[in-house]
């Protein structure tokens, strides 16, 4: 089989479900003769994406900005607090039940509260992403800091290592694989969380574009915004997955 044939088979093996989804969508809309106001065709969405890239680009940058800054802040906050909890077992004892409590709470439902507190603008979108990313960072780093190789901590203590040295040379390196799992979990949620917050109260971004165009019955652009958000979200996830794989190779 030649190279093109092999590629086609690989694409079909991996992508048959997605292709089927798009074909069923196109066929359904054509068969039911839906108006584009109700339900756009995939081709119409594609045309709008190619025809007006700057609309999508501007809003995507806003959403990506919120997602990246929120991801960095949320991961930093979660990791920092996990390290503080490692240093002080009083703090750890007080924080652990609280975070277990909060991590099972649907974060999306507090968007209206945060919006009331911070205002209907970028800061609320950012705060939601920070909160969404904080919990996995804290939970996974906390367990990672304790996932030490058997006997390593005893060895460090016997050799007279102080707490800072045990943290820097033992616990933190041991926590890196778990931390990279947290990054993957948080990265996937960051974009979608930002988009929901923008949809509810934003002034810009893909979620806002979606809400605006939907209420103007410009469904092709609304679906275009969705498609861009999906691609961004998948790219975030894939990047974090690549980091996780590299970490796993390096650490095993």
């Amino acid at each position: 089989m030649n190279a093109i044939g092999r590629t086609a088979v690989a694409v079909l093996r991996n992508g048959w479900g997605i292709l089927l989804l798009i074909i069923v969508w196109q066929a359904w809309v054509t068969a039911m003769n839906f108006n584009a106001i109700v339900m756009p065709r995939p081709l119409g969405v594609l045309q709008d994406l190619i025809g007006f890239p700057e609309v999508y680009w501007k809003n995507a940058v806003y959403t990506i900005g919120a997602a990246v800054i929120g991801l960095v802040l949320g991961m930093a906050l979660g990791t920092g607090l996990a390290i503080l909890a490692w240093l002080s077992d009083v703090l750890e004892g007080m924080l652990t039940p609280l975070t277990v409590l909060f991590s099972s709470v649907p974060v999306v439902t507090i968007i209206p509260i945060v919006a009331r507190l911070l205002g209907y603008d970028f800061s609320t979108v950012l705060a939601i992403v920070v909160i969404i990313c904080f919990f996995p960072a804290f939970v996974f780093t906390t367990s990672g800091l304790k996932a030490l190789p058997a006997g390593a901590d005893d060895l460090f203590r016997v050799l007279g290592a102080r707490t800072p040295a045990r943290l820097l040379r033992l616990a933190l390196p041991a926590a890196v694989p778990n931390w990279s799992v947290a990054l993957r979990v948080a990265a996937g949620h960051a974009v979608l969380g930002a988009m929901i917050a923008e949809y509810l109260m934003g002034t810009a971004g893909l979620g806002y574009l979606f809400a605006e165009t939907k209420s103007d019955f410009n469904m092709e652009r609304a679906f275009g915004a969705t498609a861009v958000a999906m691609v961004v979200s998948i790219l975030f996830f894939a990047a974090a997955l690549a980091v996780e794989r590299r970490v796993k190779e390096r650490w095993n």
Binding site: L12, V38, M39, L98, P112, D153, T163, A171, M195, I196
Partner: protein
């Protein structure tokens, strides 16, 4: 003395946990009482008073039962879809990579974008349940797929040698082996389904906790807004804890 990853005894840990919780509640009350965060942060006592007021119960009860009904329907449908896809991909390995990709892409569709689609194809009333089903199905699919691959090679070879059919291998080996992983998925799918229901209700469901949240936000009914969020959080926590028990039982029996 022994700082850094030291473990305390059980009672000491419980006392610390309770202290942390109390500190959190006191901070909430103080911020609300002294208006440190403005008018939008009510004291804890206001929220408790509202939740304890029998005159509010019919309103909250109607909304809660509508949300729970939609969530349960979505959750069960999600289990059927997720488990069905995982078993299908397990029985027909050639379809597996494509099913994985499809699941990942469907999961990356922003749930607010699912709303308008479901409103077109279904109805306003069932949109909440449909989004809940989409959220739950992905988690169940991932958990079931990894669970179905969990049986040991030795067991699988033994059944093949003894001439077991694909179906009886599924029934007697792979499905039981998948239960621990599946039970974790069932637990994690609960908050996800609840989020899906609330988001679905934002698209114009006639009643439900999500509707109540948006109304309270727009009418500046701050205590009501917080009460509804507390109600949702407690519901999520209660269901999550109940399924944690199921998960523990599954691990004890099958893992």
């Amino acid at each position: 003395m022994s700082r850094g990853g030291a473990n305390r005894s059980g009672p000491a840990r419980a006392a610390l946990g309770i202290a942390g919780l109390l500190l959190f509640l006191c901070a909430w009350q103080a911020i609300g009482y002294y208006r440190l965060a403005g008018l939008s942060w009510p004291p804890l006592t206001d929220v408790i008073a509202l939740l304890a007021d029998p005159e509010r119960w019919p309103l909250l009860g109607r909304a809660l039962s509508a949300t729970l009904a939609a969530m349960t329907a979505g959750y069960l449908l999600g289990i059927v879809l997720g488990l069905g896809a995982a078993v299908g991909a397990h029985m027909f390995p050639i379809a597996h990579p494509g099913t994985d990709r499809l699941a990942a892409v469907v999961n990356s569709i922003p749930s607010i974008a699912l709303g308008p689609v479901f409103i077109v194809f279904l109805s306003r009333e069932s949109t909440a349940a449909a989004i809940a089903a989409a959220h739950a199905a992905f988690i169940i699919y991932v958990a079931a797929s990894s669970g179905l691959a969990a049986a040991s090679r030795g067991h699988r070879d033994l059944l093949v040698v003894l001439g077991a059919s694909r179906l009886s291998r599924l029934r007697h080996l792979d499905l039981p082996a998948s239960l621990p992983s599946l039970s974790t998925g069932l637990k994690l799918a609960v908050p996800a389904a609840l989020i899906g229901t609330i988001i679905g209700e934002w698209f114009g469901a006639p009643r439900g906790l999500g509707v109540l949240i948006v109304n309270a936000m727009q009418n500046f009914q701050i205590a009501l807004l917080w009460s509804v969020v507390v109600l949702i959080a407690s519901t999520s926590l209660a269901l999550y804890s109940a399924l944690s028990l199921l998960e523990r039982a599954c691990y004890a029996r099958f893992a």
